[in-house]
């Protein structure tokens, strides 16, 4: 049964959580992925978004050291939490229902 409540997630949060459904990702990769959707954010603005998702316990974030060339660098990685997955699913259902209803009305007309 699709929810009738307006989702608590913004479009951008919805997009980010959706990207994390496939598995954990570094922040840099998520930022590049949302940029491919036409959402350009500076690095601090992007991490402000991620910090809010962490604060709301929708994602987990941690630092991990990786090697680039011969240099060890650090990157922040994120993984989706259960609460994040649930909210994302609710939002998806809301939008799906919205689209279905719109399609129905168009058919009736």
């Amino acid at each position: 049964m699709p929810t009738k409540r307006i989702p608590r997630l913004t479009h951008l949060q919805f997009l980010v959580l959706g990207l994390l459904r496939d598995g954990e990702q570094p922040g840099r990769v998520i930022r590049e992925a949302i940029a491919a959707h036409g959402v350009k954010r500076s690095a601090p603005a992007f991490y402000q978004l991620m910090a809010r998702l962490e604060r709301d316990r929708l994602v987990d974030g941690w630092y991990e050291q990786v090697t680039v060339g011969d240099q060890a660098v650090t990157e922040r990685r994120y993984r989706l939490r259960a609460a994040g997955a649930r909210l994302w699913a609710e939002a998806r259902d809301f939008y799906t229902a919205l689209i279905d209803r719109a399609v129905e009305r168009l058919s009736d007309a």
């Binding site: 690095a43 601090p44 991490y47 060339g69």
Partner: protein, 864 residues
Amino acid sequence: MPRTSAFVRLLAACLPPDARRDLFEPAIHDLYAESARTGRGTGLASVVIFLECWRLAPSEVSAMFLHDVRHALRLLVREPGFTLAAIVTLALGVGANAAVFAVVNAVLLRPLPYPDADRLVLLQHRDRRTGITKGFIAIGDFVDIRARQQSFESLGGFGAGPGTVYGQGDPFDVSSLMATSELLDALRMRPVLGRSLTADDSRAGAAPVIVLGYDLWQQRFGGSPAVVGRAITIGSTTSQIVGVAPAGFRFPQNARTDVIASIEIPVRAPAERKSGWTFGVARLKPGVTMEKALADLSAVSRQMEQEHPAANQGSEYFAIALRDWMVGDTKGALLLLLSAVSLVTLIACVNVANLLAARAVGRRQEMAIRVAMGAGRSRLIAQWLTESLVLAIVAGVVGILVAKWMIPTLVSMVPTSINLPELAGLGVDRRVLAFTAGLTLLTTIVFGLIPAMGIRIENAVGALVNPGRVTAGAAARRASSALVVIETALAIILLTGAGLVLHSFARLLAVDPGFRTDRVLALDIALPADRYREQPAREAFYARAFDSLRRLDGIESAGAAVVMPLTGNNWTVGFDRSDRPVPAGQRPPDVGWQAATGGYFAALEIPLRAGRVFDDRDRPDHQPVVVISETIRDRFFPGENPIGRRVRSDNGDAEIVGVVGDIRRASLTDQPRADMYFPLEQSPQTATTLFIRTREDPMASLEAVRAALRGIEPRIVMRDITTLDAVARESLQITRLALSLLGAFAIAALGLAAIGIYGVMSHSVRQRTREIGTRLALGASGSDILWLVMRDGVLVAALGIAIGLACGQAAARALSALLYGTSPADPLTLGLAVTVLLGVAALACYLPARRATQVDPVKTLVTQ
């Protein structure tokens, strides 16, 4: 934070913790990873990320900032002594810096009032044989350069000078610009009425035309549009007014431009290439660099040298930026002073940093409490920097008031030759305010960051547990000593600079110019051209005028000349003995040119070495004669008597009738040069300069002189009335300006350094009370303690002096252009500067050292 640069750590410390943790750190990690992938630098991008974090976290930042500002203001009120000392020190530094910058801005930075003025250049001529450089160009060379050059879109000729307008009521003076149309094109002058000059106006035989200056049009012609087409008589020439220049147009920028008259420039170079002279101003073509233009001029110079060796051998043309010509020597002096005053500001910052460092020790308990309550080191640094910023802003505001007070004094010291209209009414404008704001921020960083970086939270617990034994650590003491080393080093640089200029100035004052400047009145006169068109009329006027002047009470002698000495004039003429002419195809050597009456030598007391000076025998219709200076005799007539010999001149062979002493004609720093004098008696002019030697104050005789001249010619114009002493003083004005300000800055630096050393030593003695008490208890005498304390202070000062002397050599070389007869490494000056600074340092150490000897060992040990 992972491994990052100190710079990035500093940026991070300035952010609130949340913004740093959530925004800055992950973003910086990404930047480092990106840098590892691409090899690009991270410096600028770090700053961009930092600024973005500030933008995104405004509420947290502003709350933290406002809290710190309130705390800083409370501290300033609570410690009035510290506050006053810090604000006065900083305000003087910032104010002096802003004042010097205001003058630098007006003279050097503000664009000249012509569109794209940085593309305007002035042509210069250099004689490779003598090294003499001058701005005026022989007319033949000018025509050829104009035709052959490929770097300039327009190259115009000009001259400037005073004139007298007749036929518009009473005669009045005007300042005229004589120019070709290309000059006005180069300056992009667009008339507000009528037309500008055209190339046809400069053709031989063209009817004379003028463009009126805007102010003259308004004041004398009521701004009437009907003025175009009317005739106006300036001097002996009646011209037609063809247009009106826009408001504010003036050229050269330091002169009024009342009228712009056309000058005649031939289309083809005349056979007599030096039949006339002009200045040349050009505008670089788009895309042409100065280097390319110089190469172009050099190539044209070589061509002309090959084609006309008799006139151009050793001649070389080049160009300088128009602004550089207008500001002359002042540029170097002003930049030097800006550097010097910056050093004073730096010393002031170092002093305040020392004060803050001393205060930091007293505030360790407060800091410990903050640490105990959870503040990190970065939070403390941010608080410390905010306190410094508040202090700097208050000092900056006071500094602006100091600058407002100093600017008029500074402007009055700028030489009148740099009489830029922008200097009148110069004040604190937006640019100066921006400069002061930037300087305030910079000082915050310099004096605020040093003590802030010394904060160590690891020791906080100790400070909290045992507040009574809070002392500065060895690191803090070393930091204080380092600050003293820095300010002593800066002070010795300023002190030696001021000493060198003082030494140089003393030498300049002692220079014998070869003539006497005291008690000589000098004034320019212009006779109405309509009445004195004929030579006999002019001859008769001068005969009556000199006769009348010599009869006046208090007048010893009077004469006239064309070139005013000590004003940088380098006019030359070829010297060619009639009996030994230079071989065909070679150019005769240049010697200085002057036209003067016999009375000129008497008025200036230029000594006669042989023969006679000009007198009544030298009438226009008589045999041409010249007088030469000693150097000409020594160089061209070695072992011969030159009297009676002949030299070639424009009027045929002239007989040498006298030899006079050499003078330093262009400036006091000039070497005495070979000069050849032509008699004004043989070619009296309608305009010349009178030189009148008086028995008392020359200005006291001015009214009598005016009356005598008006008695002979009521319509005579007298202008630029001065004394030769004033001219000599003006010629030294740049050196005087540098001396006054460098001297003031050096004294300020000395005072600040003394206060700094005193402060550090006093603080050190307080911190070492226990040690001193113990030493005294163990048998050390008062003199031992005195030596202990003074040795430390003087050693630190000596180290600063050594470093300053090493660094100061580069600074002294920059001074070279202002020095005369003084080496930048002058041992006497350096020795004196070192002695003075060491003496002051010793005195500053003595008072705290003496206090240290009075420590009561028993009381100290019991207390501790």
